[in-house]
Amino acid sequence: LHKLVHIMDSFQLNSNSDSIKDIFDSSLNLEETHYKEGYTEGYNDGLSSGKDEGRQVGLKTGFQVGEELGFYRGCIDIWNSAIRVDPTCFSSRVQKSIKQMDELVEKYPKLEPENESVTNIMDSLRLKFRAICATMNVKLEYDGYPKPSDVKDIM
């Protein structure tokens, strides 16, 4: 009761209202303080575990993209070698498509995973590859090569 009167006197006197405000503020803002603390803790936690997870996803995606590009690179190199040995082994249309594939593989922004053109270039590569294989009448696939039906799981 004495304290209450003292506080009320203080209000009426309008002195030291700042320090009184502070006392009340800290108890009133307890919820907000705790929230802020918790948020900061969680955010920092998330930053580090997110980095870990990001690294895992990046490794996985990078590997898959690299593997697919590498496969096309290999096919293109073999085909080009064949053309050097016998320039008539493939029709001009097929040779043109191989050249276009070569350009696309070179153009693929390997170090910019967030570059918008990555999906378009990969889609074009896959289409050209299918068209060339269909014309040559060969089935080129190997373990680890994502079948078009698997692609939706990867991307």
Binding site: R93, R130, I132, C133
Partner: protein
């Protein structure tokens, strides 16, 4: 006197049996049925075979002359003759397209086109026979070039449809390709110059007066300035384009909606085919065949089409395909889930 003023009947000439499963598609061989050459018809079926039927000079009835079997390992869904009649292309659920050539009395498979990931739904030759288009459940349309020695090269793989592509048809005089799909749209594809660069130049969807459900078939009229499409939405739609403009090299003119025929079908329409004289035949899931002709012109909304006749119970089950003979004999062939093919003649009623 326009066609609508005369009364006609669709007379059943013959019922062709032989296939042991549903018959999906039919194709009349070009340059037959005219000039003393007996009419020839190809049919393809769920029984994995293709049958060739020839009309006898003596009796006038169609006989099965050949069975093309042991090549496709699943349903043969579509067949089309090259414009010269030399080659027959067949598209199958086994994901391949076979090319057949007549050697003596037999047909030999001279080439197999692979590339589709799953069921091929339709095959079509362009007007000059230099290009073959195929489409399928993998949502893609493939264009192949015919080279000497029955070699085929893939020119382009076209993606754009978001679902199963049901049919592809080349324009009768220009190298423009149309496709229709389970995604309810019709797409028009053309080449950019001469560069193998094919792309979609127009998509007709519901908001451009297009269909609201699967579009099953499309067919051009003989002059190529109109096309008809039919759908699961129970309508037939007619489209027109400024062909003169396109032929003069003035770019691709868009296809515009002319007319919608609704209220005539109460089940899915699987097939529509435009005859040389301008009669549209439709085959539907109610086992019936309907014929439509242009009505009077000069109405406010432009040309209209009217029902000429309806043949109820043309078959015992769904009619999958209707095809007019290209000869001037008013013969119509129909194929059905009931495993039979029927040959009809459009004639004035017997009384006349």
């Amino acid at each position: 006197m326009s066609l609508i003023d005369e009364s006609f009947e669709l007379r059943e000439i013959q019922r062709l049996e032989g296939h042991t499963d549903r018959v999906w598609s039919l194709a009349w061989k070009p340059a037959t049925g005219i000039g003393g050459v007996p009419a020839v018809l190809a049919s393809c079926s769920g029984d994995k075979t293709v049958r060739i039927w020839e009309q006898s000079r003596l009796t006038g009835s169609f006989e099965c002359k050949a069975v093309l079997e042991e090549t496709h390992t699943r349903t043969v869904r579509s067949c089309a003759w090259s414009p010269s009649g030399k080659l027959l292309a067949t598209g199958s659920f086994d994901a391949t397209t076979a090319i057949w050539d007549k050697v003596g009395d037999d047909y030999e498979c001279v080439s197999t086109l692979e590339g589709h990931e799953n069921e091929v739904k339709s095959v079509s030759w362009n007007a000059s026979g230099s290009l073959l288009a195929t489409c399928g459940r993998d949502k893609s349309v493939w264009i192949w070039e015919v080279l000497p020695g029955n070699e085929f090269e893939c020119v382009s793989v076209l993606q754009g449809h978001t679902q199963d592509v049901k049919m592809v048809q080349w324009h009768p005089s220009m190298d423009i390709l149309c496709s229709c799909s389970y995604d309810n749209t019709i797409k028009v594809w053309a080449e950019d110059g001469d560069s193998d660069d094919w792309h979609c130049v127009q998509t007709i969807n519901e908001s451009s007066d297009g269909h609201s459900s699967t579009v099953w078939a499309l067919s051009f009229n003989s002059s190529g300035d109109k096309m008809v499409t039919c759908s699961d939405d129970l309508t037939i739609k007619i489209w027109g384009a400024d062909i003169m403009k396109m032929q003069s090299g003035d770019g691709i003119a868009p296809w515009k909606h002319i007319c919608t025929l609704s209220g005539y079908h109460d089940r899915t329409i699987f097939s529509a085919h435009w005859s040389r004289e301008g009669i549209i035949a439709s085959g539907a899931a109610d086992d019936a065949i309907r014929l439509f002709v242009p009505g009077e012109n000069g109405l406010i909304d432009g040309p209209t089409y009217k029902l000429l006749l309806k043949k109820d119970q043309a078959h015992d089950m769904d009619v999958n395909s209707v095809q007019w003979s290209s000869a001037e004999n008013r013969l119509l062939a129909s194929a059905s889930d009931d495993g039979t093919i029927k040959i009809w003649e459009l004639a004035p009623p017997s009384g006349k």
